[in-house]
């Protein structure tokens, strides 16, 4: 310091009284204003001495402080100001410094240069906590500098945002008398670092030169960088200046050993983002986790672990769901609901392929009466159950398919092929639809079936009682001819008695009883003898039509009837026929008791034969349905119910409530019961019907029973039972346990996509159209929609040499989306859970 300068003295107290900080500030400002440029203050702890001295303009102002400088000496200092504190300094020296140069010859306490932006502070001792905190650098000016000869207190450089700090770490005892072992003699742990405890937390700018240990600084915020020659030159030049200011130039050589210095600077924001000095998780897993636990980590000893995440959409084994081509895995509803089990959907598929004859032939593998029954007489449960009904779409017309056989000029050798002869002989009693069916199927399987029937013709009720109006005679004849060709041994007019039955049993390997229910049920009421059974009526009517005899109806009054007619079924002969004729006459007013479909047939026939009023009565809502009912209604028959018949008189039917329904002809049509007498007592019956197991086997294992003798049903029930029974017997003959040949379940109709079909088409005109409009439930129609819909092109069609084909999804392409399932018109594709890994 230039001691020649003249200093004006400003005292810090007057007498015993301390001058307040406010007054001292006023005195200093006045002195400057008066032109003084060197001022000595004898301070007594006044606040902020030496700051804010702008009144000197560009002149330099020197402030020398003797005594106790107060807090914030030189705060808000201007660039023209030079302050020299001759002793120690209190808190916050150089606070918010905007350019003043401050020299302290002693120690400075906390907060040195806090918030400073310019200026220089030279400390000739140590500093307290939070020195050089929140300092910053304004690009318009030189950065602030803090020079400390000793060390810094705790939390040095917090939030430092600019400026340069130089901490020389000079400790007189250590630096002048270093221990031989190099250990720090200080007792304080904190003093091991010349920057104190936790320095540079939150530092974002500036740099710090320090001499000695600085390892405790915040590594998140700052980093050590090499001291360049430029840095070193700057440090040496300015270190000399600093030492000169604090009168310790002699230390220069001691302090200017480059290797003792460390330079720390704030990390850039970019540097803070990368690498916090920790392992990456990947390295941690590999080098720490797996090393401690073993290969494969936590459970590597318990299971194979494939590393790495898999995507949401997977292929191959990693698919959760896989599509299955379930062609023909289920029955179509038509097949499932056909009592005969005809695979209607397969026949339509043949039609679609242009193979009409094959479609007809296929029918013959299931039924001897595709035209008669499917085409005419059957109420067609296949159509009733058709999936298309779900949307009120018209089921494809199976009647057309059935009747296709009529016109077909299939040669006889187009009959189904017959298996190798087994040599087994089976008697079939009753050549009605059930008996013919079982004989047909046994013949197909290579067994010799012999048909017995008590009537003159085969066909049972089809031939005897079903009105010709419901079935062209030629169609029936053609099918019966085919049966006769196929089954050579048919023995007609064979009345079976208990004795002859036993004989047949002995003669044949198996006996199948298909004698039907031909005994009409009559009512246990007075006057029942005045009525005629429906069967007798219909048979007579049919005979009448066959004979084309208009004189058939002879005038025989009801009251002349005989009670014998009641058991007409067991009687034959002219007198009985006569009696029936008697009952029918005069056929003007007809009452039919029992309004089922047979009753309707009676009504229709009665009308044909000239009846004027026809009334069907029933104890409950009439069970009649379908074509029969429609026909009866069309001829003007009326239905009455509930009506309970009390008595039949020559004048008609008297009901329980006393009402009389006038009639000249009364027909009882309440069903038929079988005649099981000829079977003897060994074969169990129940409620008049023969008891059978699921394979139609009776209590005698060699005797089977099918058709109405087992229980009432449709023609197709009897035909189906015939087929199943033939299959069961075939199994037994072959030494196998009989079981259902086709145990497949019906397909879930919700799998079918009817949206492909036009709901406004209400009728079909041709087989081809039906084939096209058939939804082909559960039966792949080979349309390849799946191939086109698959988003991964995973599905291909594979064809075998025999012409059969299948569709397969390539696991390596398929993602298990189920689009094939959703788009398949026939419900073939199914999306199922993949097998567990």
């Amino acid at each position: 310091m230039n001691t020649n300068t003249f200093y004006v003295n400003i005292p810090g107290r007057q007498g015993d009284k301390r001058i307040p900080s406010r007054v001292l500030e006023e005195m200093i400002q006045n002195a400057v204003e008066q032109g003084h440029r060197a001022i000595e203050v004898n301070a007594y702890g006044q606040h902020g001495i030496g700051g804010r001295l702008w009144k000197a303009g560009s002149d330099k102002i020197k402030i020398r402080i003797q005594g106790q400088s107060g807090q914030r000496t030189g705060s808000l200092g201007f660039p023209n100001t030079e302050i020299e504190v001759m002793g120690p300094a209190s808190d916050d020296i150089g606070w918010l410094n905007a350019g003043a140069e401050i020299v302290v010859h002693g120690n400075a306490s906390n907060g040195v240069m806090n918030g400073a932006a310019q200026g220089k502070v030279y400390i000739g001792g140590n500093i307290g906590a939070r020195g050089m905190t929140m300092t910053k650098r304004n690009p318009r000016f030189e950065p602030p500098e803090l020079w400390v000869i000793g060390s810094a207190g705790d939390y040095f450089g917090e939030f430092m945002a600019g400026g340069i700090a130089v901490v020389c770490g000079y400790n007189s005892s250590r630096d002048l008398h270093p221990r031989k072992d190099g250990r720090d003699e200080s007792n304080s742990i904190l003093s091991q670092s010349v920057l104190g405890y936790r320095p540079l937390v939150g530092m974002v700018g500036g740099k710090v030169f320090c001499r000695g240990d600085a390892t405790g600084f915040s590594k998140n915020d700052a980093k050590v960088i090499p001291i360049t020659d430029l840095d070193w030159d700057w440090l040496c030049i300015n270190l000399k200046v600093f030492l000169q200011k604090i009168n310790k130039l002699q230390l220069f050589d001691n302090l200017s050993k480059r290797s003792e210095w460390t330079l720390i600077r704030a990390k850039t924001p970019q540097e803070k983002l990368i690498g916090k000095g920790r392992l990456s998780m990947q390295s941690f897993r590999q080098d720490v986790w797996d090393r401690e636990l073993g290969k494969g980590g936590l459970i590597g000893d318990l299971q194979e672990v494939e590393r790495g995440a898999i995507p949401l959409i997977t292929k191959g084994d990693l698919r959760r769901m896989v599509p299955m081509w379930e062609h023909a895995k289920y029955k179509a509803p038509c097949q499932a609901n056909c009592p005969t089990g005809i695979p209607v959907q397969e026949r339509w598929h043949l039609i679609r392929q242009g193979l009409a004859d094959e479609a007809t032939s296929m029918g013959l593998k299931y039924t001897p009466f595709p035209a008669t029954v499917c085409g005419y007489l059957c109420p067609n449960p296949c159509m009733a159950s058709c999936t298309k009904n779900l949307q009120y779409m018209t089921p494809v017309n199976v009647k057309l398919l059935g009747r296709a056989g009529e016109s077909s000029e299939l040669p006889l050798d187009a009959l189904p092929s017959v298996a190798e002869k087994s040599g087994k002989r089976i008697a079939v009693i009753g050549a009605g639809p059930g008996g013919i069916s079982v004989a047909w199927h046994l013949t197909l399987k290579g067994h010799e079936a012999v048909l017995f029937d008590e009537s003159k013709q085969i066909g049972g009720k089809i031939s005897s009682v079903i009105p010709d109006s419901r079935l062209p005679k030629e169609t029936l004849n053609k099918e019966l001819e085919r049966v006769k060709k196929f089954i050579p041994d048919i023995r007609l007019e064979q009345k079976i008695t208990p004795k002859s039955f036993q004989k047949i049993k002995k003669e044949f390997d198996y006996v199948i009883v298909a004698a039907g229910a031909r005994k009409p049920r009559m009512l246990p009421i007075q006057g029942v003898e005045f009525a005629i059974s429906a069967n007798d009526f219909l048979a007579k009517a049919k005979e009448n039509q066959s004979n084309q005899t208009d004189t058939f109806i002879k005038a025989i009054r009801l009251k002349e009837n005989q009670t014998k007619a009641v058991d007409s079924q067991v009687k034959t002969g002219e007198n009985q026929a006569q009696a029936i004729d008697n009952q029918i006459k005069p056929l003007k007013k007809v009452v039919i008791i029992g309004a089922g479909n047979v009753g309707c047939d009676v009504a229709t026939e009665a009308h044909r034969m000239g009846a004027e009023t026809i009334t069907l009565i029933d104890v409950q809502k009439p069970a009649a349905f379908g074509k029969e009912k429609e026909d009866a209604e069309a001829v003007g028959a009326t239905f009455q119910w509930p009506c309970f018949t009390r008595e039949i008189t020559p004048n008609g039917v008297i009901l329980d409530d006393g009402e009389t329904l006038e009639a000249d002809t009364v027909v009882i049509s309440i069903g038929d019961v079988p005649d099981t007498e000829f079977l003897g007592k060994d074969i169990a019956t129940r409620n008049g019907f023969v008891s059978v197991n699921e394979f139609n086997q009776t209590s005698d294992s060699a005797v089977f029973a099918i058709g109405d003798i087992v229980g009432p049903g449709l023609l197709t029930h009897a035909i189906g039972a015939g087929k199943r029974t033939a299959e069961a017997i075939d199994s037994i003959i072959n030494g196998k346990e009989p079981k259902p040949v086709d145990a497949r379940k019906e397909i879930d109709k919700s799998r079918i996509s009817l949206e492909y079909f036009n709901p406004m088409i209400k009728s079909y005109n041709s087989l081809e159209e039906c084939g096209s409009e058939c939804a082909s439930c559960g039966r792949c129609r080979d349309c390849s929609i799946c191939v086109h819909v698959c988003p991964e092109s995973a599905i291909d069609r594979f064809e075998s040499e025999d012409g059969s084909y299948e569709y397969r999804a390539d696991p390596q392409k398929c993602i298990g989306c189920g689009f094939c399932t959703g788009a398949c018109p026939c419900g073939i594709w199914n999306l199922v859970s993949n097998t567990a890994v």
Binding site: L279, D301, C817
Partner: protein, 582 residues
């Protein structure tokens, strides 16, 4: 499927379902990804029929005497090529050309939502996640869905995972009102060091501790741990990848960041390798009424390099208080079976109660001493109970048991992998008042610094983890346990309080968190989970400091510092003995 059908009482329409799929035909590319990813097969490709009726001028219809005439009119006026009237691709009808209806049908493909109970959309939105064109997303039904009235098929009430499905949160409403600026030395979350650690174990006063040591040669074990603990979620309830990720993250926090975070195993055993590793010290082994995996743990004791952090004796779970659990046989695969020490493919019931314990005294005494003995009384042992009006009785009992190291109380908002909805929604006690009562009881006994209480159940359920945790700590908890939050934050669990997903119990977790199917759990990479665990804890730590620093009182965990708490509900304030602020 046919739109016309017979219906049953439980036949539902899309409008009846809780979640509805919004599919945009014009954006969809029909790539199949949404249907492939859907965990419950709620959507499928479907065939649609679209009827296009050409505009017909009625006067022309009146003028024409026959249908044929009008038809020809439509044809000509429409000015379209003949393909308009030919059948579209996908229709099989090539016949009846003469009787072709006036209005042709078009067939197209699209995504349809199924309406069966078992295939109802769960709102997980995985379809949205995979859709390349943003063409599909589920929407919550704003009505009370009808689905809930029919899910009890076969008489089996709804079970699910998740929480109570209530977004209401008392903890969210608690404010930290004591902000120190000049009244106390202001602390700075970024600058000051905080000792945000808590003690797990019986902390005797120094004098008593010294006496205990002198007289018994033993003092109660105490662990200094991080106050945010990962609560018990078993190996089995969680997938192997999830479990490993959690453990790895915890190990990383301990070994790389020096945060003493601890994790409970839940009841399902512990993989043998972990038992024999140094990482065991970060693990709290849970024992519950099923005792699964405990023989494997016993076999491992002689080989343990480290003692476990603690033993948690589970008596109850906040989500389904008083109810047990059942791990269905189909989830008990080879791995789970090995870890739990059971054969494969058997159902594993955890009964609601421990069978041989008939009273609080017996339960506490027997279990705590047995477990303490297993590790030479070096390991803290504490019970975990569901919050209840009877919790105080348990706590009082613990205060009289020298080996009891703490108490975990799990509140009604806790999550679970599987519980009956009725248990989840209607059983249980809120955590705040339960913790408060128990803490004030300890204060009353002068033991508030002796036996730590930990809180669990719905902490952070609306995302406010640090605030909820801090509130509970200031109400008196020494720390908190979290489970569901971890799944959400560290593994991307999409379950919400509006009943989104919540299918943890069915094994189809679309994020692979609660599934034992490698096709699902391999979607999750343990490393990613571990990384997120680290991020979760580090950010929680910052947030917790952001809360406690301005309180300015201390750089240690402010347990029971309830003068910092306020709430805008007078009754609640009275009940919790905190300030009422409006």
């Amino acid at each position: 499927m046919s739109s016309n059908r017979t219906i049953k009482p439980s036949s539902l329409s899309v409008s009846d379902l809780p979640w509805q799929i919004d599919w945009k035909k014009e954006r969809c590319t029909l790539c199949g990804q949404c249907t492939a990813v859907c965990p419950v097969q709620a959507i499928s490709l479907s065939v649609f029929r679209k009827r296009n009726i050409a505009a017909i001028n009625p006067s022309n219809l009146l003028n024409s005497s026959s249908r044929a005439a009008s038809k020809s009119f439509v044809c000509s006026s429409n000015q379209t090529d003949s393909s308009e009237f030919s059948q579209p691709i996908g229709s099989f009808n090539q016949f009846n050309a003469e009787e072709q209806p006036l209005s042709p049908f078009e067939t197209y493909y699209g995504i349809r939502q199924k309406t069966s109970i078992e295939e109802a959309c769960i709102g997980c939105a995985m379809c949205s996640m995979v859709c390349p064109n943003d063409a599909i997303q589920p929407h919550r039904n704003h009505e009370i869905d009808r689905y809930r009235f029919h899910i009890n098929q076969d008489g089996e009430p709804r079970k699910r995972g998740g929480r109570r499905n209530s977004t209401a949160s008392l903890l969210d409403r608690i404010k930290f009102i004591r902000i120190s600026m000049l009244t106390d030395p202001a602390l700075d979350a970024g600058r000051h060091e905080f000792e945000l650690r808590t003690l797990l174990g019986r902390i005797l006063p120094p004098k008593e501790n010294m006496e205990c040591l002198r007289n018994n040669g033993w003092i109660p074990p105490v662990r200094e741990i991080y106050p945010l603990i990962i609560g018990g979620m078993s190996f089995g309830a969680l997938s192997p990848t999830m479990w490993e990720g959690l453990q790895m993250g915890v190990a990383y926090l301990n070994e790389q960041l020096g945060m003493p975070v601890r994790i409970s195993t839940g009841e399902g055993g512990c993989p043998p390798r972990l038992l024999r590793s140094r990482f065991l010290k970060y693990v709290i082994l849970q024992i519950a009424s099923g005792y699964f995996g405990w023989d494997e743990i016993i076999h491992a004791i002689p080989h343990m390099k480290e003692d476990p952090c603690a033993i948690e004796v589970k008596y109850g779970q906040g989500a389904k208080p008083g109810d047990g659990g059942l791990l269905m046989w189909h989830k008990v695969n080879k791995l789970i079976a090995a870890i739990r020490g059971v054969p494969q493919g058997v159902s594993l019931p955890s009964p609601p109660t421990h069978q041989t314990q008939y009273s609080i005294e017996e339960s506490v005494a027997k279990m705590i001493i047995s477990m303490s003995m297993a590790w030479g009384f070096r390991v803290p042992v504490y019970p975990k109970i569901s919050a209840s009006s009877t919790s105080l009785a348990v706590l009082n009992n613990l205060t009289r048991n020298e080996y009891a190291s703490g108490l975990v109380i799990d509140g009604e908002d806790g999550g679970t992998g599987a519980a009956y909805s009725v248990s989840m929604d209607h059983m249980g006690h809120p955590i705040a008042s339960c913790i408060r009562d128990n803490y004030l009881n300890l204060v009353h006994l002068g033991k508030q610094n002796e036996i730590p209480i930990f809180a669990g159940g719905g902490i952070g359920k609306n995302g406010n983890l640090a605030a909820n945790a801090a509130a509970l700590i200031m109400l008196g908890a020494s720390g908190v346990q979290i489970g569901k939050y971890v799944m959400q934050a560290a593994a991307g669990c999409i379950g919400t309080e509006t009943d989104r997903c919540n299918m943890c119990n069915t094994g189809v977790c679309p994020k692979g968190i609660t599934s034992q199917d490698p096709r699902l759990y391999r979607r999750l990479d343990p490393e990613d989970v571990a990384q997120r665990i680290v991020e979760l804890f580090v950010s929680f730590d910052i947030e917790l400091k952001k809360i406690v620093a301005p309180l300015g009182r201390s750089t240690s965990l402010p347990i029971g510092m309830s003068d910092a708490l306020g709430i805008d509900d007078y009754q609640v304030a009275q009940r919790l003995n905190i300030k009422y602020v409006v």
